[in-house]
């Protein structure tokens, strides 16, 4: 049989994307509508009370900037956060929905493409959904909000919020950490989705504290084994006799100056590790769900 380069072929990757989209596009439309409706109801309740409370004084010069505008901006920020969270969760469910039953696993595994192509196409769909569905849903929600509020409160000036510029975090350094933090969290859910395709979100959320407890316990045992007790460890840290402490203190200024970059690198490294682990777990998948 003729041998080909089997790891990645773009045409097969496109066929996989097409297959997923054509099989599931109705579900994606329903997801979009459900998402919009859910967030709208949540924010409608909130805004309706605010607008009703404002009464006749809403247009006064000092009241508008201090109360009305900030309330609307808050609502839009809440909208964005809630929409992003729901889109991500839906994406995680979709990621594992192609292999969460035996029949679907057979379909997926027998599809003539490499595991890498299948994995990358699943990730592309996940990120695609977040990048497309999230802004679309947000725009749609904002449009409906303005239309509905204009109908219910015709005497008031209802305006579109600036969706591109709500200041979520005032510190720009912290703001720049948003992406790596988000991607790191998402990577944990991707790994969880591959390991537990039946209940990816629940198990991943439950597993995170378990990992924290285990890490704490291992750290505690390590400290006890190395230093005898916690007090000695603290003393060692105080006297800076340890190699790592020395290293840290030698470069303290540099670390403080570059802590954002260091955290960003660390978070991307964590994300990469999670996604790599997820790929190998996906590659070794068989029709028996070993972790259900």
């Amino acid at each position: 049989m003729e041998k080909h380069f089997s790891f990645f072929k773009f045409s097969r990757f496109l066929l996989l994307l097409r297959k997923d989209f054509m099989e599931n596009y109705r579900r994606y439309i329903w997801q979009f509508l459900f998402l919009t409706l859910f967030v709208l109801v949540a924010n409608w309740m909130r805004l309706r009370f605010i607008y009703t409370d404002v009464g006749q004084d809403w247009n006064s010069a000092d009241f508008y900037p201090n109360y009305f505008q900030s309330a609307t901006t808050d609502a839009v920020i809440n909208n964005a956060a809630l929409t992003l969270a729901i889109v991500t969760m839906l994406g995680i469910f979709d990621l594992s929905s192609s292999f969460n039953t035996k029949g679907r696993r057979i379909q997926l595994l027998m599809c003539p493409a490499t595991s890498f192509e299948k994995f990358i196409s699943n990730l592309t769909l996940l990120f695609g959904k977040i990048l497309v569905l999230f802004p679309l849903a947000l725009l749609f929600e904002e449009l409906i909000r303005v239309v509905l509020l204009s109908l219910f409160f015709p005497a008031k000036y209802i305006f579109f919020a600036n969706l591109c510029g709500p200041v979520v975090v005032s510190d720009p350094d912290l703001l720049s950490l948003g992406n790596p933090i988000g991607i790191a969290i998402l990577s944990f859910f991707i790994l969880g989705g591959i390991i537990w395709p039946n209940r990816p979100v629940v198990y991943t959320v439950l597993f995170a504290p378990a990992i924290a407890v285990v890490t704490f316990f291992v750290g505690y045992v390590f400290v006890i084994l190395c230093f005898g007790d916690i007090g000695s460890f603290a003393q060692a840290a105080e006297t800076r006799s340890n190699f790592f402490f020395d290293l840290f203190h030698q470069h303290e200024n540099w670390i403080q100056a570059h802590w954002i970059s260091l955290w960003t690198c660390f978070l991307y490294l964590v994300s990469l590790t999670n996604v790599t682990l997820a790929y190998f777990r996906f590659k070794e998948m068989d029709i028996n769900n070993r972790f259900k």
Partner: protein, 288 residues
Amino acid sequence: MLEISNLTFSYKPHHLLFSDFSLLLEKGKVCGLLGPNGVGKSTLLYLICGLLPIKKGTISYKGMKTFNRQPEMLNDMFLVPEELELPKISMKRFVSIHSPFYPKFSAEELQKALTLFEIDPQHKLSDLSMGQKKKFYISFAMATGVSLIVMDEPTNGIDIPGKSQFRQLLAQNMSEERSILISTHQVADIDKMLDQIVILSEKEGLLLNESVGRLCQKLQFLPEGTEEEAKDALYVQNSIAGRSMVLPNNTGDESELNIELLFGAALHNAERLRLLLQKNESEINKPE
């Protein structure tokens, strides 16, 4: 074409399903995989398709290890599982999505098969009954042009006319380049189609692996035998219709294969059946 060498597999650590199991499937054959419930027929099919990891041994298809699930292997092999889970889309859309993955796919063959099964391709897959879904999926499998089709209980859920249509479709789509491996309990649905029979048992693993021609040459299947004949029989089945049996073929006349009788003989008189086939083999190989 398909070679299984010294396969060892188990779901649980101390309960081996296959131990040192070997099998060869040549191209151009229809092979029936038979065995009692729980013996591992479906598992063997999944192993062949690379859907389960093997503990020891190798399974290779045209020189490729099946668990690697290379696209070049997957686009030349098709599995029809016992239970189907198909997307809720129309048949036309399913075909347009999945056919590009199979380079030898023929829309004409699909149309012929669907016409034979009397299925309207305009319908949605979710509107079809289980049997109709199976008919559609078998039709699609045949149209892919792959060299190996693996079927797990293909006639389960298919109506009576559908079973004869299935046999017709199988006969129409067989070629020298294509092999079909069928695991089934409904032996009457496929007995006339088989070229090779593989019988599995829980204790011995591979109980029998013979061509139908050779079995008919070496065994005699009697739909109604006498008490005298029954004394030498490998297996006797008593029913209202009479006493059917399988005997060593001492006459040289070939009788029609009866898989139920063969299955009974293989399960109840395995050692004698094996000796009989081995003896005949050694006689054949004896130099003049």
